[in-house]
């Protein structure tokens, strides 16, 4: 490791900071355009009704002020070239950030002036006096110019400042902001939880009753988050220095005695217990939300097998959700349009599995022979075909057409029946199935079949040349995904009590795909977190999330997220460990070792070391 340090100091010095007006202008302009875009889609005015921090900052302004911070951060970031020293960051970068933020802010002022003087409300419906008032704080154009430029300058400097700060301090600066925003956004969930835990006084201290967090609450949160960030950093430094000196810290021995796998087991158990215990202390609305999130987690886990493991880009995944729902409806509802037995839900589940697997085979057999883009388009088509079949007049004697099927009884367990009227019970039911799905994906991933799926995902032709029957393996993935989705469909039908073709639009497939990609393809925990965060906070295709007033913009946010993830972090938020592991050190150690071996073996001074390739 020390050798590495010496290496880097002998590298050529980077060019010093220089003023690059074109770059600053471009990024500043982009910052301004981003804010203008957010203004003109109407987001700030629309969500301005709820404050983030009581009387200080509304959610509307929050939707704009993050922009200069982010652009300031971007302008101060630097590309570290291989074989070059990293440049020391300093005042120059803060100037850059300030300029970029200032340009962005000035452009927002300009937007306010334009709104006041020209009327193009015809194409742009949000080009409105309301937006002007919002931007100018009802104090006139001059004030708008002044306040937005000043804000831009300040926030740009803050963003660049975050880059200049060492990582440890950066955390102390950012964690409080993240804490305040998330606590404020999650108000509905937290206040509900606190109320049921009889801790209303905490909620009263933090929240101003549907009006965001109080100023006092915000300060408390910020201080707490900063302390946590600072403490975490301190502990890390102390442990690192103790390791370096070889001293044993009290308690460290105890911690080291617990194997890493045991620690992982403990944390997993705690997580599972939390998932089952926390809902006991939540209210009805939160239960409803959790039940929806659960259904989507189950769907996402299924899609993860298809897309994440086997690499089959299935855009018609909703079809299997629909098949599960309709099969349940037909088999259990007394109102099903044609004569069918009124089976109990759990009995019908067996048939649901069989039907879903068959449909998976029937759709899969022709589709699976295609690859890449073609496969995606064909699955998209089949997804729509299934929905249209359920909607059609032709099949309405069986599936009820647009009227759907109503009076689906709930899930009978012993004496009680789980229905949509008790969303908490539905949530628990979904979680049981999620555990089944997680177990199945985990077992399959580490099996012969799972490895074949991964090989197909990596390179289909080579997988075939290595003796894998790709058609069979892909069909297996398709059917596994179909069965998992049909479970979710069956629970969905029992929860809603009725079922309509409108619940199975293409949008469900698209949002599920975003969830899987954002969470981290092929990673079970990532997919679950992705589903919980996106569906829980933003909301599903037709289910509201915690940010209800955000509902109109959730598709935009999904789209932006998808694009950004694919550009900047294709491995997802919680990537597969093997993809993100830091390995460069290992490579160097081995090279040194091999070099020594070669020299010892042969006394050959012309021994050339192999140059290891850094992880891409």
């Amino acid at each position: 490791m020390s050798e590495l340090m010496n290496d880097s100091s002998s590298l050529p010095a980077p060019p010093p900071w220089s003023f690059d007006p074109r770059r600053l202008g471009r990024l500043g302009g982009l910052a301004g355009l981003t804010m203008a875009f957010i203004c003109l889609i109407g987001m700030p005015v629309k969500i301005d009704t709820v404050p983030l921090i009581e009387r200080v900052l509304s959610r509307g302004y929050t939707s704009l002020v993050w922009v200069p911070v982010v652009f300031g951060f971007i302008v101060a970031s630097q590309v570290v070239l291989e074989g070059m020293q990293a440049r020391k960051r300093g005042l120059g970068d803060i100037i850059d950030g300030t300029v970029v933020g200032g340009i962005g802010g000035f452009l927002v002022g300009l937007l306010a002036w334009l709104i006041n003087n020209y009327d193009i409300r015809d194409p742009l419906i949000n080009w409105s006096p309301a937006l002007y008032d919002f931007l100018s704080f009802s104090k006139g154009t001059g004030f708008a110019f002044f306040i937005w430029t000043a804000l831009g300058l300040g926030l740009g400097a803050v963003g660049a400042g975050l880059q200049v700060l060492p990582t440890a301090y950066r955390r102390i600066a950012t964690w409080p902001a993240i804490a305040i925003v998330s606590v404020s956004v999650l108000e509905a969930a937290f206040s509900d939880l606190l109320e049921n835990l009889k801790l209303e006084f905490v909620a009263d201290a933090i929240y101003a009753k549907q009006r965001g967090v109080t100023v006092k609450g915000a300060i408390i949160l910020a201080v707490l988050a900063a302390i946590v960030a600072f403490g975490r950093d301190r502990v890390k430094t102390v442990v690192a220095s103790a390791n370096a000196n070889g001293t044993v810290l009290p308690g460290a021995a105890l911690l080291n005695n617990v194997a890493a796998s045991t620690r992982k087991k403990i944390s997993t158990t705690l997580g599972v217990v939390a998932i089952f215990v926390v809902p006991l202390f939540l209210g009805r609305i939160m239960h409803e939300l959790l039940a929806n999130v659960g259904l989507f987690i189950l769907l996402a886990l299924g899609l993860n097998v298809v897309v994440g493991l086997a690499g089959i880009l299935d855009l018609g995944y909703v079809a299997f959700f629909a098949v599960g729902g309709y099969t349940t409806a037909v088999l259990t509802s007394p109102f099903a349009p044609w004569w069918t037995p009124e089976l109990p839900w759990f009995v019908s589940l067996i048939f649901v599995m069989i039907v879903a697997a068959l449909v998976g085979l029937i759709i899969g057999a022709p589709v699976i022979r295609m690859r890449g883009d073609y496969l995606a388009i064909v699955t998209l088509g089949f997804g729509e075909i299934i929905r249209l079949l359920f909607l059609s007049d032709w099949l309405s004697p069986y599936f009820g057409g647009a009227q759907g099927i109503t009076n689906i009884p709930g899930v009978e367990i012993g004496v009680t029946t789980i229905k949509g009227t008790d969303p908490r019970a539905v949530f628990y039911l979904v979680m049981v199935f999620c555990i089944v799905a997680i177990y199945a994906s985990w077992r399959l991933e580490n099996s012969r079949l799972g490895r074949a799926w991964m090989a197909i995902r990596e390179d289909e032709s080579v997988a075939e040349a290595m003796g894998i029957n790709t058609v069979n393996a892909k069909l297996a993935a398709f059917v596994t995904g179909a069965v998992l989705a049909s479970f979710s469909g069956a629970i969905f039908a029992a929860k809603a009590g009725s079922i309509f073709p409108g619940s199975f639009k293409i949008l469900v497939s698209v949002i599920l795909l975003v969830v899987v990609i954002v969470g981290g393809m092929g990673r079970i925990a990532g997919v679950m977190v992705g589903a919980a965060v996106l569906i829980g906070v933003l909301g599903g295709p037709s289910q509201p999330g915690l940010l209800q007033e955000f509902g109109e913009y959730k598709l935009l946010v999904y789209g932006v997220l998808l694009v950004l993830m694919m550009l900047k972090r294709p491995e997802g938020l919680l990537p597969n460990v093997r993809r993100s592991r830091e390995l460069h050190g290992d490579e160097l150690t081995q090279d040194v070792w091999i070099k020594a071996q070669i020299e010892m073996d042969e006394e050959d001074n012309s021994a050339t070391t192999e140059g290891e390739v850094a992880p891409a």
Binding site: A455, E458, D459, V462, M466, A616
Partner: protein, 265 residues
């Protein structure tokens, strides 16, 4: 006497390009045969035809006396023909050991159900797959073992990727190993090391080997027989010395002497 692999009057036509012209070829058990030829001579097409990636226009490919024409690549591999790729094509995001484990797919049989139930047979087979994979990787000395097992393939150096390609082909438990430019891009030290390993592939593992190679020192050191292809035709074959002195081969590689070229026009 039956050949391990026999190719009869093989023709491959891509549109207007006659990639293989009436090719006849055979390999006997335990032989190491090198296929050489200038760029575009049809060497890789030759491999692709054997492994079922390219369907020939006419002719026949016999493996142990039976025709393998029309079989899918995975069936060919299951019969016992494994190959490596010229432009290394590993499963980059899978670990080193997973790369060799997945290659044993057609030699193993535990399905999804036993994986879900975690049966005794499943655990037993997983252990065997892993052990065999580690054994195959151990063939390359210290280069692919130990902590390397669980590293993703994409962090490997170029030479190690080439080695892993060979290991992956070995893990399919083949009889006939087709190596497509195994030492391409390696430095002299590394290719000397790999040349020795190719010899050991035959003596220790009992593979019959057909190898495409441009590095003549490797070809000279390991091959029993050299076949020279040009424009899809065999222009010479025999041991290395015969072939390397063959005027036709020299012409194919270096071009015709100038006065002859004038004669031709």
């Amino acid at each position: 006497m039956s050949h391990v692999l026999e190719i009869k009057d093989l023709n491959v036509v891509f549109g207007g390009l006659h990639a293989m012209k009436d090719l006849n070829f055979h390999v006997d058990e335990g032989e190491i045969v090198s296929v050489i030829g200038p760029n575009g001579a049809g060497k890789t097409t030759f491999f692709n035809t054997i492994t079922g990636l390219v369907k020939p226009t006419s002719g026949d490919v016999l493996y142990e006396g039976h025709s393998i024409l029309g079989l899918d690549p995975n069936q060919v591999t299951a019969l016992g023909i494994a190959r490596t790729f010229q432009n290394v094509r590993l499963f980059a995001n899978m670990t080193v050991v997973e790369n060799v484990m997945v290659a044993q797919h057609c030699r193993t049989k535990q399905g999804a159900l036993s994986a879900l139930l975690n049966t005794k047979a499943f655990k037993q087979e997983e252990r065997e797959i892993r052990e065999y994979g580690e054994k195959v990787l151990g063939f390359f000395g210290s280069r692919l073992v130990g902590y390397r097992f669980d590293q993703p393939a994409f962090v490997l150096s170029y030479a190690n990727r080439r080695r892993l390609e060979i290991a992956r082909a070995m893990a399919t438990k083949p009889k006939l190993l087709l190596l497509d430019e195994p030492v391409a891009g390696m430095n002299p030290k590394e290719s000397a090391e790999l040349t020795a390993l190719i010899g050991r592939l035959r003596s220790e593992w009992g593979f019959t080997i057909v190898m495409i190679e441009h590095d003549m020192s490797v070809v000279r050191d390991v091959s029993d027989r050299v076949v020279v292809l040009d424009h899809g035709e065999t222009i010479a074959q025999g041991d290395f010395d015969e072939v390397s002195n063959d005027p036709g081969v020299i012409e194919a590689y270096l071009g015709r002497p100038l006065e002859n070229a004038e004669d031709k026009t």
